[in-house]
Subunit: 329 residues, 2 copies
DNA sequence: TTGAAAGCGATACCAT
DNA sequence: ATGGTATCGCTTTCAA
């Protein structure tokens, strides 16, 4: 930058003003500076700028795992919004471990990120972030709410989605609807889905004894047990991706794919190629990311009001498996 | 840091040495410094450190799209290696546009990344990166080689994978093997797969007239045309994810899923749930990312030899569709 | 082994 | 509107 100033025959201050689109610069001088910039191939040093300004035009993203397609989709949504402001994104995986999440937050903080967008690791205490918030770091949680901290959060309507599935199956004549949920009850999304399922059953005046919490590996056995039980279900809701896939396997293996209605939570590729097509409750991860980024930038733009909670709708995509009638058995 | 120095009763220099695990520090003083760090909740300012050192402990990743599961998997592999060194990753999407790729590279450069890991946008001239390389930025390309620049690159064995598919089908008695590839011939991976297919056919002494380049949307029509042709194929290789899914649709719609053997390039979720299970050529995106990160850090550690080219094996995963015999028709 | 001080590159206040 | 300059927080010779 010194060089640019020298070549353009102006002061450092002026160059800085031009580079940052400063308020009042003689167009003539500005042009000279631009030329010098071109000539020297000058590149702005954001590190130095950050040091002085205390803003880095970057934000940090913490996911369970950056390699997970669901989080990758969120990442994409965030990037879309961030890009429009020239903000770059750091991304890291917490591996669902609170300690690792905290390490990452520290590392991002040390790099002076302007904001943090976090899918909170289960079981963590997020009070440690209070400090960053105090220093002006914008903070938004995504997909799951934080614990011990009041902050903006963007969620999917998990309970509503599960209810949607129940309503849909009831509309197709089912009254014995089983639910295979994720074992880990502490997971917010899993708990919400189960809650939505239960409340919907109650609302329809249906019995509530057909839910099981499983690991993906236990899915097959759970289905076997259910269909051999005294009151076998005529429909199944699988509460999570991996469980859905495992359920599909089990149903195919048992030749039940045309006999047991099935709605899975979360859309999966090839869902429309299996027979029958898999009816799912789809989330909008891209929207989750976009919305979260928007809240984050509003904070950066000065919003200082109370924490906001945004809930995004889930939708049911009918493809066949969820439209099997209860009488088909 | 100034505060820490004051509290610990030592100089800035000493604090810096302690914080960075400097070479020679009196354990006693070091302890005092650590205490002060704890007490004040001091956080290292990497931006300032970068400014002085010219190293930021961060690298930039440029993908077609961060939301794409394939790239997300690469991202995961990179992160695994980077994390071990305390290096953080920026990630951005080029949207397959050379200009946007370049903008991102500039933005990363302005933030002083130590290295750049790029999935090159098709049709771009990567000479512009020469400058970064000259200033010591480590550069590695992934999944596709760059143009007009000699740099480290990590690739999948696309041609080998396609050949694997042909060999497998030939072994199951097929001699009329069709190939549906991605329309865009400029895409390196697409071109390589087609080449692998052709060379394998030639090696087996088979005719070469059954390849078609399509968009996913054209897949169904292409399959129809092929099976209605004079010399209908008994087997099909789909060269890309979306084409594979479209092919699956078309085969199901035409009731051909048990009659036309099918091998898809790239593994997909639920591939083992469709009937028959989908045989695929699987890549190792995680390995691609890990290997690329390793090369990058070797450069950072001082390797200054010639550009390296690492090619990762692809593997065939048999699930049924690729094992249909030619006589089943 | 420790400290003093210069400097990394850019910004913003204060003058002019 | 423009320029001089202190300053951001840290690292690193150079001396002691």
């Amino acid at each position: 930058m010194k060089e640019v100033a020298a070549v353009a025959g102006v002061s450092l201050a002026t160059v800085s003003r031009v580079v940052n689109g400063g308020p009042s610069v003689n167009p003539e001088l500005a042009a000279k500076v631009q030329d010098a910039v071109q000539l020297l191939g000058y590149r702005h040093n954001v590190a130095a700028s950050s040091l002085r300004r205390g803003m880095s035009a970057s934000i940090g993203l913490i996911f369970d795992d950056v390699a997970n397609p669901f989080f990758a989709a969120i990442h994409g949504g965030v990037e879309e919004i961030a890009r429009a402001r020239g903000v770059l994104t750091f991304a890291g995986s917490s591996d669902e471990a609170p300690t690792r999440e905290r390490e990452l937050a520290e590392a991002f903080g040390a790099r002076g990120v302007d904001g943090l967008l976090i899918v909170p690791a289960v079981g963590g205490d997020h009070g440690y972030l209070q400090r960053d918030v105090a220093t002006g770091v914008a903070l938004v949680f995504v997909d799951r709410p934080p614990r011990f901290l009041d902050a903006d959060v963007v969620l999917s309507d998990n309970a509503g989605g599960a209810a949607l599935a129940v309503d849909h199956l009831v509309a197709h004549g089912h009254s014995r609807i089983a639910y295979l949920g994720d074992r880990s009850e502490e997971i917010y999304t899993a708990a919400e889905r189960l809650r939505g399922y239960r409340e919907a059953l109650t609302r329809h005046g249906l019995a509530n004894g057909l839910s099981r919490l499983v690991t993906p590996g236990e899915t097959g056995a759970a289905i076997d047990a259910l269909v051999r039980g005294a009151e076998p279900p005529t429909a199944l809701i699988s509460g999570q991706n991996l469980v859905t896939v495992a359920a599909l396997h089990a149903l195919h293996a048992a030749g039940l794919q045309e006999r047991l209605a099935h709605v899975g939570f979360d859309d999966v590729l090839l869902a429309d190629v299996v027979k029958p097509g898999l009816t799912v409750i789809a989330q909008d991860p891209d929207g989750l990311g976009r919305r979260a980024a928007e809240l984050l930038f509003e904070r950066l733009d000065g919003y200082a009001g109370p924490a906001r909670r945004v809930v995004l709708e889930t939708t049911l995509i009918a493809r066949g498996s969820g439209e099997l009638s209860a009488t088909a058995r």
